[in-house]
Amino acid sequence: MNVAPENYVALSAVLFFIGVVGVIARRNPLIMLMSIELLFNAANLALVTYARAWVNNAGHIFAFLVITVAAAEAAIGLAIVAVTFRKEPFVDVDEVSALRG
């Protein structure tokens, strides 16, 4: 480990930043989902970094769980997109507001 862990953490933060902007700014649900994957990966990077730094593979386990959840999330998210698209001729998150309170 010849690069200081801070660098990895900073990289993770930058990736997280990009992901956040993507989720909020884009209106295409697919790209939003992909941005969410970016967020997950940023978090995973931080976890793995600290696992390596402290030689404790709990971080790995956690990252593994995050991957699992990400898979589940992607599956459900894509299913929702597919269903929505079946009803509407286009997919725009601003048009899908059935959850309005």
Binding site: M1, V3, P5, E6, Y8, V9, A10, L11, S12, A13, V14, L15, F16, F17, I18, G19, V20, V21, G22, I24, A25, R27, N28, L30, I31, E37, L38, N41, N44, L45, V48, T49, R52, W54, V55, N57, A58, H60, F64, I67, T68, V69, A71, A72, E73, A74, A75, I76, L78, A79, I80, V81, A82, V83, P89, F90, V91, D92, D94, A98
Partner: protein, 205 residues
């Protein structure tokens, strides 16, 4: 050292491309590059099993799922975001928050350097059986120490599968789930109040 910087630049660039690409297919390509770079980064952190998982699960499964959906929805023919932008100035707060987050993390990370307890793991280097981050090492941790978490994850996946079947399936296995008729979502009262029987004088008020 150099590998880290190259990978870092590659990841940032691919991430920006993913977020800004006009068409989803391009985004997918960007994301793929990002994931592969991340897997490589994991290797530099001696997380060889996770690196493999990253390739297999993310690149191999999730991204393919994205591609399938894009293909399914014929995104090449019709644009996706066509409606009026209901939150046109959302980018401003988004960037503000994101910058705040970034700054916060950076400041924290730089001002509190991670104390590296052990620069090299004792039980061998990457590639050895049983070394830190290897399959054996990971497996022991997963199935011995964190079995409950593993089980819970399995449960989450199962729920996800059922959820997908319910949401997307025309017909589930065995015809359990049927296509629902299009209907207006109507909120029914939870309790159907029957009219009080006239002879029941409540409280005789």
């Amino acid at each position: 050292m150099i590998a880290f910087w190259i990978l870092a630049l590659l990841m940032i660039a691919s991430a920006v491309f993913t977020v800004t690409a006009r068409r989803p297919v391009h985004s997918v390509v960007g994301l793929l590059v990002n994931f592969i770079a991340l897997a490589a980064t994991y290797l530099t952190l001696q997380a060889e099993f996770l690196a493999v998982m990253q390739i297999v699960v993310y690149s191999g499964a999730i991204l393919i799922l994205f591609v399938f959906v894009i293909a399914l929805l014929s995104s090449g023919v019709r644009p996706f975001d066509v409606g009026p932008d209901r939150m046109p100035r959302i980018l401003v707060p988004a960037v503000v928050f994101a910058v705040l987050t970034l700054a916060g993390i950076t400041v924290t990370a730089l001002h509190t350097p991670v104390t590296v307890l052990q620069t090299t793991p004792t039980n061998g280097t990457t590639g050895d059986a049983g070394a830190f981050g290897s399959v054996a090492n990971f497996g022991v941790a997963l199935f011995a120490d964190n079995l409950l978490a593993f089980e819970v994850t399995a449960f989450i996946l199962m729920v996800a599968v059922i959820g997908v079947v319910l949401i997307a399936g025309d017909e589930g296995p065995g015809g359990v789930v049927r296509r629902r008729p299009k209907r207006v979502i109507k909120r029914e009262p939870i309790l159907k109040a029957r009219p009080p029987s006239p002879e029941l004088v409540e409280g005789s008020g």
